[in-house]
Point group: C2
Chain length 222, copies 2
């Protein structure tokens, strides 16, 4: 493992060279954007590094100067998605502090749904969580770890954002675990909701909310 010493939380694992110059930074972002576009167009298995390079108008070698391999590229995009989602949560919960479990769930799911509708590649990637594409090849193990990390990160942030809601007889760890379970479950159900309807099946989205409210009601008050 000759990974550079990077903070895992920032999702930079597998990154080969961080862009230092303005020109490089632009290329880096462009590659990531093209990657997201192509994921929407051809899906994960259809994604080729050559196609990314071509559309981003950079030689293939440049892609591999930033990203150790294809997985690292996709992972960097997932990390960006995660950061985006966390930012949205912080803002929304700051604007209208939730007064009940329903509020917490409504806001989180609404933001997630909005991202799926508008953010290129988000539907295919999510945060890289729950997918089978990672744990496969031994070399990709770090990706799995990061997926778990990402879900844990969201759960932790959700907990710190809604401390006043935690039931008094539930420990912090217990609440965080419940949130992690909720994350994973919601992710799967929403995946289902978007499978039939590209805008997300309204009925399934509603069911997803009911699922979370019913479960989290045991840990949260209100």
């Amino acid at each position: 493992m000759e990974t550079t010493t990077e903070s895992a939380a920032s999702g930079a694992a597998g990154l080969r060279r961080r862009p230092m110059q303005r020109r490089s930074a632009e290329r880096y972002e462009r590659i990531l954007n093209v990657c997201a576009e192509l994921l929407d167009e051809v899906g994960f298995a259809g994604l080729t590094t050559t196609a990314v390079a071509k559309r981003a108008e950079v030689p293939i070698g440049t892609v591999y100067q930033f990203f150790a391999d294809k997985s690292a590229l996709v992972h960097a995009l997932a990390a960006r998605n995660l950061q985006n989602f966390l930012d949205r949560l912080v803002r929304r919960y700051g604007e209208t502090p939730p007064g009940s479990v329903e509020d917490v769930v409504d806001i989180a799911i609404d933001e997630f749904v909005d991202m799926r509708r508008t953010l290129p590649g988000f539907g295919v990637l999510d945060f890289g969580a729950g997918s089978k594409w990672s744990e496969a090849d031994p070399r990709d193990l770090y990706l799995l770890d990061d997926s778990v990390e990402n879900n844990t990160a969201v759960a932790r942030r959700l907990r710190t954002l809604t401390p006043f809601l935690a039931s008094s007889d539930a420990g912090e760890d217990q609440v965080e675990l419940a949130l992690r379970v909720a994350m994973e479950a919601a992710d799967a159900v929403l995946q289902l909701a978007f499978r039939s309807d590209p805008d997300g099946d309204a009925g399934l989205i509603a069911e997803c909310k009911k699922l979370l409210v019913a479960y989290l009601g045991q840990y949260y008050v209100g």
Copy 2:
């Protein structure tokens, strides 16, 4: 799409030639078993058709005589897993008819957990549901459909197996939808449970049951 006319429910889509002779049937099963073994050893992304052929001691061409492509091979295995799970449910619910939502959930999850612990490849594949590896390449679209089919099949079977539990003011379709949501959610949470602990994290398995009971309690009585 030059797929042969096959019953989708039997999971034979993408199958090229169904084995007719005893000798062929043995080879067919052996290929599937080796595929399951290798999935456990090298994961999904690490699976190669050449390795399957070599370990099954058949020439590569023979693999492609039975299966249209690599996806079809993996899919056939997922279908076999599904059938296995359904058989187990029928048997268990027949032996000890569930008297409450808790019973239904307990039995289903216990069987699922047992399969994950004992059935080669099941941990990687599940029923092929909820994975990203399918919807990718346009040619693989039928796989996605079958995944959805598989989940629907389990949901439908679960409903018919536990009719007496359905709440009177919930329609059949509504109950089936709820079961499908529950399936998808449970799948994801159990995936999480087995990610850290190869035998399945007991705490997470318990949480999974709580999740389902809390949600399905709205549709089921008892």
